[in-house]
């Protein structure tokens, strides 16, 4: 048995990985689509199942498509007694629509692959975002210290203590105080320019 799956995912590496995984397993043929006219893509591919990244706005369009079966596509495991599986998919950020009434036992391994991949990519993304945030905080702190050292003739440890004290007095996070301090300084620079 071979199912046709329409995959809507703009994250190129993840989409390719899932496409490979499902195609290798032999029980699914994967077609990819994106963009504003998903109705046309559904009509062309006539998929049994649509798998979509929940971060895309296109889910609303999909819910209204009546191309394959006469009825509207059925969202994820609606009407089944397995909310935990649907919850796992939502937590991973992936959703599926059953368009041709595929049996649940056939959908399950496919969605399990998708969920695993989305989880892995999500993990990488969050780590990346955290690393970027930390780097940015460090960059701003260096900048704030440099401003204090230049304008107020402080030493580096003095500048750091000054910022720390300011954060403590205002009971705010050091990172926030630093960010505001740098932003204020930049605004002043801009205003003082003719």
């Amino acid at each position: 048995m071979s199912l046709t799956i329409l995959l809507i995912d703009t994250e190129e590496n993840r989409a390719r990985a899932l496409e490979e995984k499902l195609s290798q397993s032999g029980f699914a043929r994967v077609v990819r689509a994106e963009g504003p006219d998903l109705a046309a893509a559904v009509e062309r591919a006539k998929p049994d199942l649509v798998i979509i990244d929940m971060a895309l706005p296109d889910r609303d369009a999909l819910e209204d498509i009546r191309a394959v079966s006469a009825a509207s596509p059925v969202v994820m495991f609606a009407g089944t007694d397995d909310p935990a599986f649907a919850q796992e998919a939502i937590a991973a950020g992936v959703c599926s629509y059953n368009l041709s009434g595929v049996a649940l036992q056939d959908v399950r391994p496919i969605m399990a692959s998708a969920i695993a991949l989305f989880k892995r990519y999500h993990h990488v993304e969050t780590e990346l975002a955290a690393a970027k945030a930390l780097l940015n905080e460090r960059r701003l702190l260096e900048r704030a210290k440099a401003i204090l050292m230049k304008n107020r003739k402080m030493t580096e440890p003095e500048a750091y203590r000054w910022l720390q004290k300011k954060a403590m007095n205002e009971s705010r996070k050091l990172a926030q105080v630093v960010a505001d301090f740098v932003a204020d300084d930049e605004n002043q620079q801009r205003e003082s320019k003719p």
């Binding site: 504003p36 369009a61 930390l134 905080e137 702190l141 996070k173 050091l174 990172a175």
Partner: protein
């Protein structure tokens, strides 16, 4: 260096995860959060931006969200399990009136305007006249099948004898993709909430030829929907959240605050679009507004039973719901009692009834309320119909 990220303020209060879309009328929830109104009421709110109504529906249904700024027809669809598993919801307050536009591709819009002026007919009649002279059917975008936009647009078209499915093809196009779809010719127009009509106009792709008010003056738009189980487990926090939203709505409704609200909403984590496009539909944000949201005045936050019944009536009209006990459903979801109980301590005036005649007022009028009457705007439908939400009208 580790203290830079380790300094986290402890969170307190009852956790409330609120889903919202990138729309101008998400303003009260955003303002209540940013100004600390939720926190002051002991509510630890978390605002979650979602890219689709489908996400809002699924996350409410599966418990990933406790509440949402929602279009009321979708709340009924979730309650009835029409597009996934069902989840019981309550609406303790409405959040906005008006704010949608009907936006047509430039050429078509100019043609409709010219026809309307020449023949002295309404915009939908002019659209019908233009369609008669076209060889291909018109395709218009809406934001979701269970949206206010779908119901308002169908109502407006029907006044000129145009029926969706027969004379006009309605398809769902996410508003963030509407400009692209207009330019590619995939659609010839769309009905969506602010700021998307304004964004299409600024991009030179479309012209706004009607607003919610042109279909129904003061049409209810977004509501605050809460999972019934959360509401029952956290009665005090629910009332606090409603009070926080009242304060925010009062702020958003004051014309002098428009530019501030517009700038706040334009931030990347909220709407992430040009603040001027947002400003034009905020109260006080434009000199000659053609599309405006109202958040507080005219009893905008009261969850009128008659609003709920109008939505259900229209959903039935277009076969979006089957035979359901509409009166019972409206009473179960639209909780006037919760609104009254929440705001009584604020001393604001409260209507003396839970329902009103919809469409009966062509001019400004006074609503009977306690302690003081409330000044109301006109509420006419474009076809002059008066909708009376009396139980006798409900069919089982």
């Amino acid at each position: 260096m580790s203290e830079v990220i380790a300094l986290k303020s402890p969170r307190s209060g009852t956790r409330l995860r609120i889903g919202f879309l990138r729309l101008t009328d998400s303003a009260p929830a955003i303002v209540a959060q940013e100004f600390g109104y939720f926190a002051e009421e002991g509510v630890d709110a978390e605002l979650v931006e979602e890219p689709s109504w489908a996400n809002i529906a699924d996350k409410l249904a599966y418990g990933f969200l406790d509440a949402a700024v929602i279009v009321p027809p979708l709340a009924f669809a979730i309650e009835l399990g029409l597009r996934g598993i069902s989840q019981k919801l309550v609406i303790p307050c409405n959040l906005s009136l008006g704010g949608n536009t009907v936006t047509l591709a430039r050429d078509l819009a100019l043609q409709v305007r010219e026809t309307a002026a020449k023949k002295k007919i309404s915009a939908p009649h002019a659209l019908a006249a233009c369609l008669a002279a076209r060889d291909r059917p018109l395709s218009l975008g809406i934001v979701h099948a269970y949206s206010t936009h779908n119901l308002l647009l169908r109502y407006w078209l029907a006044t000129a004898g145009l029926e969706a499915g027969r004379d006009v093809r309605l398809s769902v196009v996410p508003p963030a993709r509407a400009v692209e779809a207009l330019q590619s010719g995939q659609i010839s127009g769309f009905c969506a909430g602010a700021p998307w009509g304004e964004i299409a106009a600024r991009a030179g792709a479309g012209i706004n030829i009607a607003s919610s008010d042109d279909v129904w003056r003061g049409a209810p738009e977004k509501a605050f929907a809460v999972r019934n189980s959360w509401a029952e487990e956290n009665p005090a926090a629910l009332k606090g959240a409603v009070r926080a939203l009242v304060r925010a709505a009062q702020f958003c409704d004051a014309p002098e605050n428009a530019s501030y609200t517009g700038a706040l909403l334009s931030r990347q984590k909220y709407l992430g679009v040009d603040s001027h496009a947002i400003l034009s539909s905020l109260p006080g944000g434009a000199i000659a507004p053609h599309n405006q949201s109202r958040f507080w005045r005219g009893a905008a936050m009261f969850p009128w039973r008659s609003h709920a019944l109008w939505f259900l009536d229209q959903m039935a009209r277009w076969d979006l719901i089957g035979a359901v006990d509409r009166e019972g459903l409206a009473a179960r979801v639209y909780r006037c009692d919760l609104y009254r109980a929440s705001v009584v301590s604020l001393g604001v005036s409260l209507p003396k009834t839970d329902s009103k005649s919809e469409g009966a007022h062509a001019a400004r009028w006074e609503l009977e309320a306690s302690p003081n009457s409330i000044a109301m705007d006109p509420d006419r439908f474009c076809d002059g119909v008066v909708f009376e939400a009396t139980p006798a009208q409900v069919t089982f």
